[in-house]
């Protein structure tokens, strides 16, 4: 099994949804529409590793907001961010938390859509702590391993969707 397939299986085990896409801005925008049909409030965080034009069509989706107020953010339905790395064994995506709005878009929206380039998938979490991997990107930044939607078992049964997103959708660019 290759790393991409292993990643997809592990992400699904963690209750995320995953699909593979070609590197096309339009296809990404269509996938966003499919993942969150009828969404009214969409936050698009600028990518820093992926080419910025990949998110061009997303920025033109109806409902995209670029506001800065608490009220706008608290009503966000979809947050689109890049993921600078993926972890095959755990199905995690790594998302920066201090580049522009990536932290908020991946946390405050009900659905988080993470865009991951397939060549950025590593095998296990500790690979991100090795200086020779991904040109040390993991080692250097402020980021979060996101593994599935937010969840709790504190109220008795397992509930998905707590303070963070209720859904995590991952677009793997091949």
């Amino acid at each position: 099994m290759d790393l991409i397939e292993q990643f997809e299986n592990a992400a699904r085990d963690a209750a995320a949804t995953v699909e593979r896409l070609p590197r096309s801005p339009e296809k990404i925008a269509v996938a966003v529409g499919r993942a969150a049909p009828g969404a009214q409030r969409i936050a698009v965080a600028e990518p820093h590793g992926l080419p910025a034009e990949l998110f061009d069509a997303c920025r033109r989706l109806p409902g995209v907001f670029a506001g800065r107020s608490k009220i706008e953010w608290s009503a966000a339905e979809v947050g689109i961010t890049e993921a600078f790395a993926g972890v095959a064994r755990t199905g995690s995506v790594c998302v920066s938390v201090d580049q522009g709005d990536t932290g908020y878009a991946s946390l405050l929206a009900r659905t988080h859509i993470a865009v991951l380039a397939s060549e950025d998938i590593v095998e296990r979490p500790s690979d991100l702590f090795r200086p020779d991997r991904l040109s040390g990107k993991g080692l250097l930044g402020n980021y979060v391993f996101v593994t599935g939607p937010s969840a709790t078992a504190d109220m008795g049964p397992l509930v998905r969707g707590v303070h963070g997103p209720h859904h995590l959708h991952i677009l793997v660019l091949v």
Partner: protein, 771 residues
């Protein structure tokens, strides 16, 4: 004796401080009555998940070694690391503060909040802030504190201390949470499902997140070289706490510091798997605050981010200087030792825990951050050792608790009583604090010797109600328990009188030479399993001799009588050494004794010679069934031909319960393999421990708890039999056998007894040709 006063039974806070034994006993009663079912369900589920998750980690054992080595290195150079960390945090643009005491830490945090005009703090789960009592102090200063982890939210509403290091409110069932919220929030909203309760809490807390002036978090790990914090969670509240408010204060213990960012990898992989049993939890943040590039979202004027890291000592330096307790500083707070603990599964951390810390490792932490008397609950550690293999940083938790037990005994006793025990009973000075109860159980060899000599008289006496009352009053032996009857003819005596079974090979030509260690439990309490083992070993051609009967130290060690145990260990090891030199392996039938040779003697046999002796004992001692399985495989024998299960008058369907320490030292799996190879249909128990755990279940204060643990096991037998006919109950440990016999009113046999009954004739080894 008068019953101890009963504090308010339903108030966990009232019994959080267990300095007095009465509080511990009240807490056990409360937990069994109120919290037990929810604790059991949640903790056992975490336990099952951990086994699955850790089995999936590539190089799991090597990863644990690495994690242990990193912690060892970090603690050795802690002073330098603190200086490096301070420089890193300052370089990142944050503020660093080292707090020697809980009071210094809380005062610092309160002052930062006051200076910034903070009215509302959102707080992420942190055991360290529980330990230092942060909330109370902030609230006294008029600052509102909102606990945002849903479990901590429940505890804040209920005003209770955490009952588990990872799942602080897992003693609450969904029904009890509904009841609590309806009462506390005077609401008629439907709150009858996990989703409804979560939504209710989320909406309350979303407002707090957006309004908060400050976020206070802990940290799971801190890298000194970069000032990087790792924060592990599932709900997203820690991310909110560290990202939304402009002011972030992280408060954590000095033991969380590791040298470099590269050291974080192994811990990230181990923590989630060992804790909640997931490959990763939903969110693992890796941040070096302040997060300068993330704008603060605000409706008012743009505000600058500010970050403070408060590193708390509060007793940890003292723990570091303590040759035993220092190991507790390796703890990464995953809770695995709680989850795999049979006693913890039954009562949870409101009984098996103190004001902050709970479970196996909790006693060391309460002793280290408060005082030794607060560690009294560590008496619930039976030394079953199940946690030893589960700890991701390889802390020998039972050993820590044994040492705590010795120190608590000393703390509880008067100098006069210690002097008397030294003089009258020859108890070593270090153990002279032991109570009469501990002396009675710790020197089972003495009781056994006299019990056997007096034979029927002792057994008859021990069944009389007057004797039981006396034993209960003086040594705390519960009158509802039957002491295992003393053998009127000891194992040694019976072994001498028997005619050895002639094996396939003549003595001298045997491929396997061994000495059977006559442990005191077999010698005085259960000679039949020892005799059966001799028969089985001889039948497969082992040249076997019998050692003298010696106390190995297990009984003493389990009572915290370490000096006595060490003395007995040295004597036993020196008597076994000539056998080893003669090329004989050591065969043991009692798993708790074998565990001494394989695990515990490393603490008791010290010095260069002691270490060498321990290494050869560890490598060359075997459980009887394990040894039989090893010989059979080496000699190419057919187990089904030697022990044809179909011949058993008991039937071929078994329920096998392996002893807790047997599982840890790896001799359970070979026993099961042997029984299956003989042709038995074997269902194995999933219980971590039977609940008797040596002397634990005999003690009057723990009888009910022991039985509650046992019911799990009894239920598993019933479940196994619900799908078919009755099964023969088989157990390897003498106390497991007693627990099952008493709880199920059924006969329980040892694997060796079962196999010995099947021997028909002398077996010629097949393919046993020497190379």
């Amino acid at each position: 004796m008068t019953a101890p006063p009963t504090p308010a039974l339903d108030s966990p806070r009232a019994i959080a401080n267990k300095s007095r034994k009465s509080a511990l006993l009240a807490a056990i009663r409360m937990a069994l009555r109120v919290e037990g079912p929810a604790v059991r369900r949640n903790v056992q589920s975490l336990n099952r998940n951990r086994y699955v998750a850790t089995a999936a980690i590539p190089n799991y054992e090597a990863l644990k070694n690495r994690a242990h080595a990193i912690k060892e290195r970090a603690l050795a150079q802690l002073d330098e690391l603190i200086a490096t960390l301070e420089a890193s945090v300052t370089r990142n643009g944050g503020h660093f503060y080292f707090a020697s005491t809980a009071a210094e830490a809380t005062r610092y945090a309160a002052e930062v909040c006051k200076r910034r005009g903070v009215r509302l703090v959102v707080k992420a789960k942190s055991m360290t802030t529980e330990e230092i009592g942060l909330n109370r102090l902030l609230e006294k200063d008029g600052i509102e504190v909102a606990e945002t982890d849903l479990a901590e939210f429940i505890l804040q509403v209920a005003d209770e201390q955490p009952s588990h290091i990872v799942g602080p409110a897992l003693h609450y069932s969904r029904e009890r949470i509904t009841e609590l919220f309806k009462r506390a929030f005077h609401t008629d909203l439907p709150l009858d499902t996990g989703e409804e309760l979560t939504k209710f809490a989320r909406e309350k807390l979303r407002e707090k997140f957006l309004d908060a002036d400050a976020g206070i978090s802990g940290a799971n790990f801190v890298a000194a070289d970069s000032g990087t914090l790792v924060l592990v969670e599932s709900e997203g509240n820690i991310r909110m706490t560290t990202l939304l408010p402009p002011l972030h204060i992280a408060i954590t213990g000095v033991e969380k510091i590791v040298p470099s960012r590269e050291d974080l990898g192994p811990f990230i992989e181990l923590l989630a798997a060992s804790g909640t049993g997931q490959p990763m939890t939903s969110y693992t943040s890796v941040i070096s605050p302040p997060l300068r590039n993330a704008r603060v979202i605000t409706d008012g004027a743009p505000s600058e981010r500010e970050f403070h890291l408060v590193i708390v000592d509060n007793g940890r330096s003292k723990m570091r200087r303590d040759l035993v307790l220092q190991e507790a500083l390796y703890c990464i707070r995953c809770g695995a030792c709680s989850n795999c603990c049979a006693n913890f599964q039954a009562v949870g951390g409101h009984a098996f825990g103190g004001e902050t810390y709970s479970g196996g490792i909790g006693g060391s932490w309460e002793a280290g951050t408060r005082d030794i008397a607060r560690a009294r609950f560590s008496d619930l550690c039976t030394g079953c050792s199940r946690c030893v293999a589960q700890c991701p940083v390889r802390i020998d938790i039972p050993w820590l608790n044994t040492v705590l037990r010795q120190r608590i005994s000393r703390h509880d006793s008067s100098a006069a009583s210690r002097a008397m025990k030294q003089v009258l009973a020859g108890v070593p000075a270090a153990d002279a604090g032991a109570s009469l109860q501990k002396l009675f159980f710790g020197r089972y060899d003495i009781a056994g010797k006299w019990g056997s000599r007096l034979g029927w008289l002792a057994n008859g006496m021990s069944r009389l109600s007057v004797t039981r009352r006396l034993l209960e009053s003086f040594v705390g032996l519960d009158r509802r328990r039957n002491l295992p009857p003393f053998a009127s003819s000891t194992f040694i005596h019976a072994a001498r009188k028997r005619t050895p079974r002639s094996g396939p090979a003549k003595a001298g030509a045997a491929r396997h030479k061994a000495v059977f260690f006559a442990d005191i439990f077999t010698n005085y309490g259960s000679p039949s399993r020892g005799l059966a083992a001799l028969g089985v070993l001889e039948a497969i051609g082992v040249d076997i001799v019998v050692s003298e009967a010696l106390p190995d130290g297990r009984a003493a060690l389990s009572q915290g009588m370490i000096a006595t145990a060490a003395r007995q260990a040295r004597r036993t090891a020196s008597r076994l050494a000539p056998f080893l030199a003669d090329g004989r392996d050591i065969v043991v039938v009692e798993p708790s004794v074998l565990a001494m040779f394989r695990l515990d003697y490393r603490h008791l046999l010290t010095g260069e010679d002691g270490r060498k002796l321990f290494e050869s004992l560890r490598a060359r001692s075997f459980d009887a069934a394990e040894y039989v399985w090893k010989c059979i495989q080496e000699d190419g024998l057919d187990a089904a031909a030697i022990f044809p299960a179909a011949r058993s008058s008991r039937g071929t369907r078994l329920f096998y319960h392996s002893h807790c320490q047997q599982k840890t030292i790896g001799s359970a799996a070979p026993t099961e393999a042997l029984l299956r190879a003989a042709g038995f249909d074997v269902i194995t128990s999933e219980a971590e421990c039977c609940g008797m755990a040596g002397s634990f279940g005999y003690k009057k204060e723990y009888y009910d708890l022991s039985l509650a643990v046992g019911r799990d096991l009894f239920g598993q037998v019933q479940l196994a039999e619900a799908q078919g006919e009755r099964r023969v109950i088989v157990a390897s440990g003498i106390s497991c056998q007693e627990q099952l016999q008493a709880g199920m009113q059924r006969e329980v046999v040892h694997p060796m007894e079962l196999l010995c009954e099947l021997l028909i004739e002398v077996v010629q080894p097949v393919g046993a040709v020497q190379a």
